[in-house]
Symmetry: C2
Subunit: 389 residues, 2 copies
Amino acid sequence: MSPDGRTTPAAEAERIARAALTRVIEPGDEQVGAWLLRHGARKLLTLLGTADPDPGALPGAGPRRLAGLRARADAADPRRDLDTAAAAGGRFICPGDPEWPTQLDDLGAARPVGLWIRGGFDLRHWALRSVAVVGARACTPYGAYMAATLGTGLAERGWTVVSGAAFGVDGAAHRGALAANGATVAVLACGVDTVYPRGHAELLGRIAEQGLIIGELPPGDHPTASRFVLRNRLIAALTRGTVVVEAEHRSGSLVTARRAQSLGRHTMGIPGPATSGLSAGVHELLRGEAVLVTDAAEVAELIGDMGELAPARRGPVLPRDLLAPATARVLEALPARGAVTGPRLAREAGTSLDETLGRLQELHGLGFVERIGDTWQLTLRAIRRRPAR
Amino acid sequence: MSPDGRTTPAAEAERIARAALTRVIEPGDEQVGAWLLRHGARKLLTLLGTADPDPGALPGAGPRRLAGLRARADAADPRRDLDTAAAAGGRFICPGDPEWPTQLDDLGAARPVGLWIRGGFDLRHWALRSVAVVGARACTPYGAYMAATLGTGLAERGWTVVSGAAFGVDGAAHRGALAANGATVAVLACGVDTVYPRGHAELLGRIAEQGLIIGELPPGDHPTASRFVLRNRLIAALTRGTVVVEAEHRSGSLVTARRAQSLGRHTMGIPGPATSGLSAGVHELLRGEAVLVTDAAEVAELIGDMGELAPARRGPVLPRDLLAPATARVLEALPARGAVTGPRLAREAGTSLDETLGRLQELHGLGFVERIGDTWQLTLRAIRRRPAR
């Protein structure tokens, strides 16, 4: 988009090329990522589609690899993918878009080409105050209980709960956040219109309504083992910290946690019995740099910044008149003094409860509002900046 | 004792005065401890027994406190206490004695006046490789299991297990060490001839046979709340590190652990469910400086030094001809090559199994032998120094 928010033809072409590249490049491929940084999406796509590209332009690639990429580039149909996504209420965002979570740039050459998104809220604003809660699929009842309790407790404190929508810990964390009318983001290792795991169809449906579903893969694409692993880097990079609830030795959750650590994010673990193999991986982390936490308050204490100016550190706070209209309406409906419940605010703003709560989460990320239990109020800073009516 | 090992009359008088002072001074009293460092035991006892001592000699004491101390000094009968202890197979050791564990000197003015001991082994040698395992009296079955498993695993690795002989974690740790034919030291908050808690009469009897029972209080003296707290400093100072198995917030075990920390010893905690109040105190520690451990191997890895020269760092290794005769006999009975079991070695040395195992623990502390599972062998260093036969 241009600075005035309208898309230029050049930017639109670059965006379509990036959408195409999500079908060509495997997530996290740092070699192609380096080519992308060098050439931009349009030129890279052209190079990949060329029978005999200049070897100096795509350094390090053998002919077999180039042939594979060319086959994928030839088959890509980004306009159809964008239409499919739009028909399912989805969208595609790129680096540079206002909604792009700039913390993903910390991934360097492994930064996603773009993100496919389902759900009506602003990812960047939600991710400003987000924390990952991850862990074993085959967790114990204790693990599920802790994940759900953390999800609820973090949501009640106004944190967006990010996880991978898997069975076990992931699902419990999402459900805990949803149960508290909180914000939750599912990061998938497949197309955001793909229901995986199948048993989570209903949960994913609820997240698409009340939260956000995001991923790097284009519509209809399926997960693979390596995509799960590489999805974890997204969860780590998107959030301020990662909490591992239960994990065996050598589990994917530990990969997420170590990636979070290497990105300078907070890494936390929930302790469990020393006799439990499902806590062994967490304990391994806790014997390293990770911090032991036992509840949402301890997580929030570690990753939260002091005072309401906190979100400013992650990105510039939008002036009020640059807010999305739906978000601005919710902000306007908040009383100058005192807290209101979500349902009451929804009536005031003339919109649905889910919509209101999602917009409140954006405003929370931006530092305009704060959550106190089940009620919301303007921050001191927002009151000071509030225009006279 | 004089350098040749014989007691001089002056040293004997000082020792008797110290025995008397254990009935006069409460454990850990740093004010009286400072007077003791200044005057020595004999002079301090005389000063405390004087109706109107020079106020400059006992700075900081009010008349009421001095009257209390005088009453106790008048009532003390150290020769009777020493006879009582000797009749029960006990002894009294003072700073400067060969058996004195010099690491207790780290306590400064809170150093014990002396230690009453039951059990036939050398406390200093045993304490060279010792670790404290402490925790809640009302522990869960998980806590008892972990304490027993740690006690056994540490004993199998040749570590002396030190604890407070209380119900729950303490008892389980002692029993775990005893079950592995290992060395264990019970540190009491009462006279070492006093059975407390009563329900541990049999356990204390076994420890007196197979291990050591030590304490600051003279024969027959009873525990009080403050004595339990101050006993903990002794456990912390005696050992290379303290493992807390289960502990509620504000529990005595946390006092021990924090004291260990302030003395520069390792502090460790066994994690448990975040939902368990009996793990809450441990998790509090682990959120600070303490290290999370899940088994004896991790404890040994942390507190153990690399290689067999380790014990030299804690104190000078005795030349072979300064070993107690019973200890030297066990050393002589060890084969030049290969490992032997305790029972076989006991036959070779012509003594009992308990005696043999206790002496082996002394030799282990001194770096002469190492334990491999249930067998013992000479260290490389001991073989090199072995005199030709």
